[in-house]
């Protein structure tokens, strides 16, 4: 398995959400390629030392979201068609949740809308440099 997953059971974020996020990310980034086989539920549960039902739930939800497909007796695979589209959409959801948390924090710290917009502009300029300021 080229993609390596790690989970933090001590986190307040449920394990299944941590794992869904990581697998989705790996698919979107291509470290898990379309058609690539995922480890079995048992193998991944043992590898990460986490409950097998948790891994089974992750696979069920990823299948429902169209990121992977499971064929009985053969295993689970990264979906060959439309995979990247689905995974990109899922990644956008993850990024949106992170941005919303940041904005909620800024608001709860008493920042005004204009302050937040300025901070975002600064952060965007840093991470997405254009040619002039690169």
């Amino acid at each position: 398995m080229p993609a390596v997953f790690t989970v933090d059971p001590r986190s307040g974020v449920p394990l299944y959400l941590q794992l869904i996020e990581q697998i989705t990310r790996a698919v979107a980034l291509g470290s898990l390629a379309p058609g690539e086989q995922l480890p079995t539920v048992k193998a991944l549960a043992l590898d990460l030392t986490i409950n097998p039902n948790t891994v089974a739930r992750v696979y069920r939800e990823l299948e429902r979201d169209g990121v992977i497909e499971t064929s009985p007796g053969r295993g689970s695979f990264v979906r060959a068609n439309g995979t990247v589209g689905e995974a990109r959409r899922a990644v956008a959801d993850i990024a949106l949740a992170a941005l919303e948390a940041a904005i909620r924090d800024a608001k709860s710290l008493g920042l005004e809308r204009a302050d937040v917009e300025e901070l975002f502009a600064r952060s965007i300029a840093r991470w997405y440099p254009t040619e002039e300021n690169a």
Partner: protein, 294 residues
């Protein structure tokens, strides 16, 4: 689906002392349920009732949908906190006894587990340390490939490496559809291995949920105010707030349910800052027990 392990309104009284108080718990097949609770909460008594070692005062127990009987023990393994061994036998002789006692005994698996725990088959049981006695007890339990496992503090006395092996054994068994109920003081182990957590306190079951539900449901909202504690405006009566603490100008509310709505309510009190904190299982456990003491 018939629950693999089922306790219904289980109560056990010793004279005036109620050790287990109206406990109802269903564990689905293939699930691992971690039982947490302070010392004396009733964990071991619950196991004894479940196994038929003691007669419940009232309530019922069932394994695989049936009351406890001789046949229950053909597919059930129980490892008490202090493993019961034959002190005059060697480790290898213990395996030989199990080979004769259990149809489902798997010698290959037994040898694998022995090697994992670095247990020498030639060693006499009475020369084993406390941790190694537990390891042998676990080896025997898992080697019969039971459908149901009841483990009382399965990692007590084991070093961290061997504790990890115990988790591997449980995960492997559950992946092969065994159902496990285990008690532990190690919240981190429950957080990894279990999908369901049950918390006992003073004989009562105060939490019985999947870990995912618990973590999704419970949050702490922490608000810092400019000065003196604010007037709470009936906030403490909101059923979604499990407890509320105030230290100086800081307000901490443990919430269950829609934490965003509670945050909005607290926001209306005009704090200087407010944040929502995710809880891990240890926080949830401590909050549940502390909240129950009041």
């Amino acid at each position: 689906m018939t629950a693999a392990i089922s306790l219904h309104a289980l109560t056990k009284r010793y004279r005036a002392f109620t050790a287990v108080d109206d406990v109802t718990l269903d564990i689905e097949p293939g699930s691992i349920c971690g039982l947490l609770g302070p010392n004396g909460a009733g964990k071991t008594t619950t196991f004894k009732c479940l196994l038929g070692f003691t007669q419940p005062t009232s309530g019922t127990v069932a394994v695989g949908g049936k009351p406890i009987g001789a046949e229950t023990f053909e597919t059930l393994a129980y490892v008490p906190e202090r493993a019961i061994l034959w002190d005059h036998l060697t480790v290898g002789e213990h395996l030989a006894v199990y080979r004769r006692l259990y149809r489902t005994y798997d010698d290959t698996r037994a040898r694998e587990i022995l090697a994992m725990f670095s247990l020498d088959p030639k060693k006499s049981a009475k020369k084993l340390s406390k941790g190694m006695r537990s390891a042998l007890g676990l080896t025997l339990a898992f080697s019969i490939r039971p459908r149901v496992l009841i483990l009382d503090e399965p990692s007590s006395g084991l070093d961290p490496l061997h504790q990890r092996y115990v988790l591997d054994l449980m995960i492997d068994a559950a992946a092969n559809e065994a159902t496990i109920l285990f008690s532990s003081h190690n919240v981190g182990q429950v957080e990894r291995a279990a999908d369901r957590v049950a918390i006992l306190n003073k004989g009562k079951l105060i939490v019985n949920q999947t870990i995912d539900e618990l973590k999704t449901g419970e949050k702490i909202i922490e608000a810092v105010f400019a000065e003196a504690p604010p007037h709470l405006n009936g906030l403490a009566d909101d059923p979604r707030i499990l407890r509320i603490d105030q230290v100086g100008t800081t307000l901490r509310a443990v919430t269950r349910g829609d934490s965003d709505e509670i945050a909005q309510r607290i926001f209306a009190l005009r704090p200087k800052s407010i944040r929502t904190i995710d809880l891990n299982l240890e926080d949830i456990f401590l909050n549940a027990v502390a909240g129950d003491q009041r």
